[in-house]
């Protein structure tokens, strides 16, 4: 079946299998920043935004996204220039193996849009679906607070 999806501001008209998952479609199209981990809606590594809201692409049928807008991690940096969140993650040492980072950044972008000045508790609550096996979350929380401040002062 054919679907029309806008991905990172670019229109795509794509032939898909009816039972295909958005994660598979995105990676096939080259959006490899979207990570494949648990496949059971449990880890957050595959998070993308649909119409501005973070969702799990491993558990979203591509057919259901026909006519909608998808934003992946690739859509948040500007021609190779890192976003404030990505920069702060580097500066705070909040990425070790890096596997969880694309999903984390996509979720954190939605948080800062909804709430430009989140406190530590609000960050932990919003990001509880983005599991990280390496960092222990403290540096990630710090990075998001730093990015929020940079964005408010921009």
């Amino acid at each position: 079946m054919r679907v029309n999806i806008k991905i990172n501001d670019k229109n795509h008209s794509i032939e898909i299998e009816p039972g295909e998952m958005l994660l598979e479609t995105l990676r096939r199209l080259g959006y490899k920043g979207v990570k494949h981990a648990c496949s059971t809606a449990s880890c957050g590594a595959c998070t993308v935004q649909i119409d501005g809201k973070p969702v799990l692409s491993c558990s979203t049928f591509t057919a259901a996204v026909d006519g909608h807008e998808v934003k992946t991690i690739e859509g948040f940096s500007n021609e190779g220039v890192l976003s404030e969140i990505q920069k702060a993650i580097l500066e705070e040492g909040a990425s070790q193996c890096g596997f969880c980072i694309p999903g984390l950044v996509v979720t954190a972008e939605a948080l800062l849009k909804e709430n430009p000045d989140p406190d530590q508790k609000e960050i932990i609550e919003y990001l509880k679906g983005n599991l990280c096996r390496c960092t222990g979350y403290e540096s990630q929380t710090r990075a998001i607070m730093k990015a929020a401040k940079a964005r408010r002062e921009r």
Binding site: P18, G44, L111, K128
Partner: protein, 269 residues
Amino acid sequence: MINIKEYVKPDTVQSAYEIGQMPNSLYVSGGLMVSQIKSERLERLIDLKSLDLDYIREEENYFKIGANTKLSSLISHPAFSNLGKGFIKESIKEIGSVQIRNMATVGGSIAFRLGWSDVITIFMTAGSQVEIYKGNFQRINLEDFISQKVKGAIVTEITVPKIDGKCVFEKFAKSNFDIATLNLGLRVSLDGKFVKEARLVVGSRPMLSQRIREVEEFMIGKEIDKVSNEASELIQKVIQTGTDIRASAEYRKALSGSLLLKALRRVAQ
């Protein structure tokens, strides 16, 4: 990927229901659970998102929630989220993560009849009704809906009465992202210090959510700040629980006493 032949998006409840009667067909709303299905027989998914069932409408005595409403919309709706003095907002926030709440729908959560569903416990505590379509529209209590297996029916709407009295939700889980080992909802209306009406629902026993009527009846007419200990003992005697990977039946019984104690303290405040 799940191996199916077609993914259809009907735009009326009637046509969705007709397609739903064809063998090896399954409705899909948020898709969180359907995407996990590993069935060789499944041929067709019927997406319910084009049925115009994504709404929250406030009427004089109740709210009407379309079955396709996302759990996140329940939290962001100013009037509905404050129902029961913030009961809805606080309790729905206990479910999954931001991503899960942006995907899971009210209809999918109820229709799946999961034993560990917080959604069912929360809506049963509020005294909700379900509208279903199976050839015609019918309205039944949520409590009756989950105990019957209405094959092929489409859940179209939930009606939630405006709650007077106090309402609290307690969930015990091994982490703040895990499903409940036990969940409990309590709604109490008071006449001065005395309990006038009570509704007590316990879910993830691990069986389906159930009202604990013996304890409800026991509390009526008693002083709210003096009933806690006896009610907590009684629930442990009367509740039916089971053993699974998360906890034993005995553990769940003890837990029901603790969660009720906590809930009653919050209600009495």
